[in-house]
Symmetry: C2
Subunit: 412 residues, 2 copies
């Protein structure tokens, strides 16, 4: 079914909403934990449910290489494969391919790259990406885009954006079958192992378009205009969290978001730190994904109300207190910093589990706080205090210059 | 409190019982999952409870090196440290020290070895082992023993056994405080960081003695006789599952077990494969531990009613069925072999979790089956069919010669 957003309340540009998808409701603003290979690293589906995750993200690039789309399709899609009954968004694979740098070649047709798994040549065209995502049966699929590097000249950004727009059109036509049955049996099919009889009768969800254009406001607006020629049920802002300064990112959001249709969900791809999410919600974004909570967890970096702690630090060796006394997560209710540091030192799986539970709880609790604040019309005042505290903490810890893009990664 | 065994039913030498400890009841025959570093690898305490684990094992050797006994003591022992409310048995560290081979030196005093963590010299005497186990506050502690290698001549086995018996006496006196306060403040204290005021007023549980003597029946009986001069509340058979043929192990059990006091729990250390456990229960053993289910799980070896499968095998690539259609565990109810193989290939933590859940379920379900069979007086007939099937399977898969000792390991 077509993903549809119902706006329940607004405060300034910020929106409280309910996104309806094939596999159920998502309250927005929403954070999507990243499940690269059909698992949010270290978590069971029931733990994700318990944490309040309502939608997760799967990486098309990784899943097309391992286990391959046909294996997932045989399980009736990612939901059956990974035992997750709630909504799934899949990215297009574009961002990961571009991260390969020297191992890939971009043409108008699409991208060809060497598989990092076995070195074989793989092709990813807009049609390929759609065929894979259709087999993954995600509730929300993403158009294949050319992710403009940072920095980029106006000419580079324009060329990249215009290619993304042509690919968005090809993605749209493929996903919704408007190119007709004939093209589905063409050469593309051979590449993905796609057979016409495998394709479901209609798309299992909806396709989002992605606004590109680098740090150039006029290009961003042109990109949005190009996407609006098609009936995408949702729109994403891509090409951010790629190393640009925070001010640039916020300027782009402030340029683009006000022109995005109010009735469609807006997804800021790959962002970010808690303060980045708050800043983007204030500017009207509804959906987020980032590997930061899960990857940080496995590296022992844990979020607290007063900043990030590194559990590997010897200061925690004999600390009997929880990660965060204010936190109500399973980890903080039952385990000490001392125990978590010990698990980390011994490279114990339970350490990754408990840390991941805590960090995801932190992010999902932040989203609940944001939703409640919007519903009660006190987001602006809450965010003012929150952002001031976070900035103060970053100044204090000397991590003020940390790139927001740290969380935008080539899958987990 | 003193661990006490209540026998509910017997069938031949096999016993159905209830072991009462400081932290509650354990139904016997019991299998103890191994939690080397204060965590049964990949499992949460609640998952262990859900699987029906009633007692787990902690490794003194590992915990004294990381995080050190004082850190655990500050959490009021292993239970508080790892958030496990049920009984815990700790080994003495002896087996692990002996596995170090060239890195250790045995004297009458005890063992000195190089820490595999940081190379520093560490001493482990019977007194040290008791002091550490008292700090871990286990429900059941084990005497420090000299684990006789296999094979050993009668003279070697006798010397080793007699040392173990002298160490058992020293362990007993230290654990139960019969050596008086004075010796507790001696040189030993410096080694373990032990201070008199740290010691609890009475032992938190009970100390088991360990029968040694290699493959020499007369030495085994002499060892048992030596232990019975003290009031150990339970007795273990050690020095098995060290590479000896199955027939030798069963012969030793058949020699020793009939002479062990009927009212005390009998623990066969480090055993073993499912068929080894069945064979030992038939001969009157009540307690087992082995890393096999957990370690096998992380290597993709999964137990089924018809033998062990290797989930890495490509035959499982597109297999939509569960590991074992007869299994009722969480993993088998929700995930395909295809998905588990995929998680293993991608080195995903969830793969280790799901595999471990399944293998531990298999072992704990086996113990439930054994207990029910004894209670209903049909163990012998059930075991006959079971062992025949297992032997048939091993012959078929060519693993007939696999050593039972594979599961006896230097911690996990």
């Amino acid at each position: 079914m077509r993903p549809t957003l119902r706006i329940l309340a607004t405060e300034g540009a910020a929106r409280l909403g309910q996104l309806t998808t094939t596999h159920g409701l998502v309250e927005t603003p929403a954070f999507m934990p990243v499940g690269t290979y059909g698992t949010v690293k270290a978590m069971s589906p029931e733990e994700l449910e318990g944490l309040g995750a309502q939608i997760i993200l799967g990486n098309t690039f990784h899943l097309m290489l391992r286990p391959g789309p046909d294996i997932v399709a045989a399980h009736k899609g990612l939901h059956g494969f990974m035992h997750w009954q709630h909504p799934v968004l899949t990215d297009s694979g574009g961002f990961q391919v571009f991260s390969l740098k020297s191992l890939r070649k971009i043409t108008e047709e699409g991208v060809r790259f060497r598989s990092p798994i076995n070195g074989s040549e793989v092709r990813l065209t807009p049609e390929d990406s759609m065929d894979v995502q259709l087999k993954l049966r995600s509730d929300i699929a993403m158009a294949l885009d050319d992710c403009t590097p940072y920095p980029a000249t106006e000419a580079q950004a324009r060329e990249s954006m215009e290619r993304s727009m042509r690919w968005a059109e090809r993605s749209y036509r493929r996903y919704y079958g408007q190119s007709g049955l004939e093209s589905r049996t063409g050469g593309d099919a051979a590449n993905t192992g796609q057979r016409v009889e495998d394709l479901p009768s209609g798309p299992p969800g909806g396709l989002f378009g992605i606004v590109q254009g680098g740090m150039h406001g006029a290009l961003r607006l042109a990109s949005l205009e190009a996407l609006l020629r098609f009936d995408f049920p949702g729109l994403a802002v891509g090409g951010l969290a790629v190393g640009e300064p925070e001010e640039e990112r916020l300027r782009i959001l402030e340029t683009v978001v006000p022109h995005m249709p109010a009735d469609r969900p807006r997804y800021l791809m790959g962002v970010g730190r808690p303060e980045d999410i708050v800043a983007a919600v204030l500017r009207g974004i509804d959906m987020f994904d980032c590997v930061m909570p899960t990857r940080h967890a496995r590296n022992g970096h844990l979020f607290t109300a007063t900043g990030v702690i590194n559990i590997r630090n010897s200061v925690h060796e004999a600390d009997l207190g929880p990660i965060d006394p204010a936190c109500t997560c399973y980890t903080c209710r039952h385990f000490s910093r001392s125990y978590l540091r010990h698990l980390d030192r011994c490279n114990e799986i339970l350490g990754s589990r408990l840390n991941t539970l805590h960090n995801l709880h932190f992010y999902l609790e932040l989203m609940r706080t944001l939703r409640t604040a919007i519903g009660e019309g006190r987001l602006a005042s809450w965010a003012r205090g929150y952002l001031a505290l976070r900035w103060e903490e970053r100044r204090r810890s000397g991590r003020g210059g940390e790139a927001a893009g740290e969380g935008r990664a080539d899958g987990e």
